[in-house]
Symmetry: D2
Subunit: 349 residues, 4 copies
């Protein structure tokens, strides 16, 4: 850490900074410039906050020169984390995994039908919401436990592992009972109780970036999960909130190579939320794979007109099938390929 003193800071103020740092077990390196003095602190800064020095008399500001996350960092673990999903697919390896399905589970027959359709087009994980965080208390809030059961039925019918959102700590055990991947939604990125709870289960977790989450905050939230024992965390870019209103969100594809370079955890891209507009999803799915994403998560619905939620950004079966062909070509152009579902890999529960 670097502590920058104000112009005119007194020797006593500088001395106080040095003593405080030394009491914390740090080595100090004061540098006396013409108009300013700077004190560099070296050692184990893991538990030390900038605030400890920011507030001292004579201090202008502090700067941290090491990232505060540790277990999620590629420095700590240079090799990619590869996450096995129910013995069916691996996320983070050479193959690109496509997760697809409706925004919300609407009925048993609906989810089973969609599962077959997306499997036919090449998806290897089924998505579907049972618990829905909705902006309005008057909107549809999801089917709940019934939805989880229907997802399990769809898995039974097709062999596709299932990803679904868990919104509350108290639901973690129940959702983990049914799901193969637990999704933490954007609104809950910093719901630390929930992060700790999913850190204690054995199922893979997909953590979505908050709508105004910084990349380093996303990594700190992953750290909450990993430091509780669960290393199987996928990071999901799903668009951020900016001033631009032509799209529902601004899809920050820069985050994909940044996360790949900074962390060993796999990166999932969500072009459905990243754009909010069905007609942009194919182009941005291609772009996400070209940028290095390990997986895509996509909303697909047989009749978006009748979807209870997110219809505007859901693909029809036909659009999804076309997209899969196009994305496979991009995958090949970056020396990867789409994961393929093989019957003998089927998850038997």
């Amino acid at each position: 850490m670097i502590v920058i003193m104000k112009p005119g800071a007194t020797a006593a103020e500088i001395g106080a900074v040095i003593r405080k740092a030394e009491q914390m077990g740090l080595k100090t390196h004061p540098i006396y410039g013409d108009s300013r003095t700077v004190v560099a602190l070296v050692g184990d800064l893991t538990g030390i906050t900038r605030e400890s020095f920011d507030v001292m008399a004579g201090v202008l500001q502090t700067m941290r020169i090491q990232e505060p996350y540790k277990l999620a960092s590629r420095t700590t673990r240079p090799d990619n984390t590869v996450i096995d999903v129910a013995g069916v697919v691996k996320v983070g390896g050479p193959e690109i995994v496509v997760m697809a399905g409706p925004c919300s589970v609407e009925s048993r027959s609906q989810i089973i039908e969609i599962a077959h359709a997306v499997k036919d087009a090449g998806a290897t994980v089924l998505r579907g919401g049972a618990f829905k965080p909705r902006t309005s208390p008057y909107d549809f809030q999801g089917m709940g436990l019934k939805g989880l059961e229907y997802l399990a039925d769809a898995r039974e019918a097709t062999g596709l592992p299932v990803i679904t959102e868990v919104m509350r700590e108290e639901q973690v055990a129940m959702v983990a009972e049914y799901a193969d991947i637990l999704q933490i939604g954007a609104r809950n990125m910093q719901n630390y109780g929930l992060l700790q709870a999913v850190g204690k289960v054995k199922k893979p977790v997909m953590l979505k970036r908050g709508i105004s989450g910084m990349i380093k905050e996303l990594l700190m939230c992953a750290e909450y999960i990993v430091s509780n024992g669960n290393y199987n965390v996928m990071l999901c870019e799903r668009g951020i909130r900016t001033y631009e209103t032509a799209t529902r969100n601004t899809f920050d594809l820069n985050a994909i190579p940044v996360l790949k370079q900074t962390s060993h955890l796999p990166v999932v891209a969500d072009p459905s939320h990243g754009t909010g507009l069905r007609e942009l999803v194919p182009a941005m799915s291609r772009a996400a794979v070209a940028a290095g994403a390990d997986a895509l998560i996509l909303e697909v619905h047989p009749d978006p007109d009748q979807a209870v939620s997110d219809g505007r950004q859901s693909l029809t079966y036909k659009e999804f099938a076309t997209l899969m062909v196009d994305v496979a070509r991009i995958a090949a152009a970056v020396d990867r390929n789409l994961a393929v579902f093989t019957e003998d890999a089927v998850h038997v529960k």
Copy 2:
């Protein structure tokens, strides 16, 4: 709601929109322009989402012309909601309430000492965090239950009612046992389970705007609480995340008159988080009161240098005392005055 058809939409597509709306019990008004057709929908739109029409063939976009919140709206309830806090002060009436105290409860003696100090300077509510949401899992997470007990001790000693944050659904009952106002933090603005839980208790709630929360989303979140039965909700502006880095957050004071005009709920301003810098807090406290805030919540610490969190934005006792004098002058200039603590109003538990 207004449904705008694409140029070239067919009569069949327009007809489908009209039929769907009529099945929902709405009256329809198609308007045929030279290049576009628009269908206006009139009636009770409370449970109807824009998505229902957005996804239909031939539809370009939809626009809503009524706010989706209802119980929190001033249209529904023209008079200000005035919230009685433990029989000691009222928030939302002519008096301006100042809540002050440390970011975190650090010890029994610390919180009691600060309570006396802020009371002496004119504060009428004591703030202090027992459960702390922290970006890093390695940071101090608060004293927990012990912190709640110490807050209760400080109330006992001074008579000041207490506001403290509740972070998880499962803590609501426990925190409500000790606190006079339950605070929902910015990261939890859209933690709907938590909102519903505090909607079912009898204690006043202060709901903080999320770091990227839109004003209308803040009102929708208030609606989650109010629609569960608890009308005693204060809305808190605490700064939003923008590209500007000179301050910790961008303090959106525009939100104060917008909220006062749109809703009947009281508005609290948090200049400590709104700026993140102690030296800006006095100016922005004055500005918030001049803009119409009903209350201020401020971080005060006897020795910010030693604070375990948020020291950079905490006021010293002396700075706080000076601020109170200056704010009282602004209050007078807008025909209000600071709430005063009277011994006979003391909350006896």
Copy 3:
């Protein structure tokens, strides 16, 4: 346009809106709902602003349902505009054009050497700044006219057409003398005098999106150029300013398919500025082409360490050559190919 009246608007107020619209030659369609009245206006709204009605008594708000740009819109002109650059390459057709070179022209030998190097790697347009807009008045401001002459020398030596920035109206004639494409920088997106000036020359223009420009504003600025007679406008996505600081800008790739769907003008992507970090440029160049960009503009420098500006985001020759191979594979995967320089196409001045 839709004019939404306040609840409780009087018949006289509604009548005033109707009369005003009719005086403007519009047809009006009042719709009387239970709690609100809406007046739809139909006809030629080109010269009519929302403000005319926003301000009237009893009006709550207005909404526009047609885009305000016209000549730049794909509705007006369904086929892609294909821009011939000096008879050497075409931008907006099936081929993807790569423009490359240093941020700033630093010397005659430097720019000629780089021109050869980027041509060898497959670039077909040379970029280089002669006039540099710099945040600080104390920074290097570019070589000016000398820089233009050196660019022309580099064109002479290699046959590559040249793109360079024009910062001021008074420079337009001079820069047009030397450059094959006039670049309008992000800071000048809304410098309307400059836009009108380049609208009157015969050279192609590349218009960069402002650092906080909305997509529709970018199109309005293109409209300023096109409506002055110059249809040869390329739109350039170069990253926007958001709260994220891990990258210099947030590269808004969503803008690429949005612009391609909304407008007939070609779209250029600038991954150098879009990321600000050399190590992200290859991934984001691939992503931009996968998303549908018609061209890339990239910063390349033989020794970024010694570059006078933007070294942090400049590629070395070797990195650029590798990138070109990778981008060509992505181009093939979307049924396009990189433009190739053919000697007989050489621009003879």
Copy 4:
């Protein structure tokens, strides 16, 4: 400046950084930590950019510890700059100056009438646009030279000095002929040619913050003017672009105390653009003065319904008169008062 080396940087790489810095005349202080090495550079860094080091092999990042503006900084000049406007009022001293008038000059009689009205209510400077930067090329672009003449007529009639916008370098001499304060609009904050041009005239300048301008960029732009010889620069906060859409802009009042603490230049607040909504202007005018603004600039129109631009945010005469009374009370509460127009101070041209 601080140069942070990558983990694993070689001694040769560190040596190269040190040699380069020493060639630049800087003193260097290498600090060898357990996992990282940092090199602190001390000396005159005015002409040295971070880029020079950012790009070197083995460098992770650099950090600047001194602000890059100099003449605009309060460190350089501790006392407030007080700007005399045409001998009539002083901006930056104890008195608060209110500038008021229409968005656009619409006719000779209009501007004279408004000048009398705002003078009667207590304004001491007349605002009015002759050249209007408009988002659409099809919108009203201002009256131009005629508008300037009418403004001069209104000054003649009332004695009020005049502020008006200059949009282009070539207009500077002409506008300076008529105006008492030259306004640089938000879209032109970084139009460096224009900044240099107004830096060479003798008239005071009001520089508006760009819609996405950072506070430090605003100060750098002021530096462009001041370093050209014109110290009479007022900084204007007029709202920034964020994700919030309830208001036209987010009025960043934090900027007022930040600018007052960082710079010696006077600060003007523009609540009309800062909110975009007439009903918010009174509250935010009070807030701006409470936060420390030295002046307000406000849009006033006799019949906003008929205004050719910005009617939605213009105050009526009556609203303006009420606002002036309320703002005077806030001024008194911060020990200031509104500037008063005295006949013998009248500017005779």
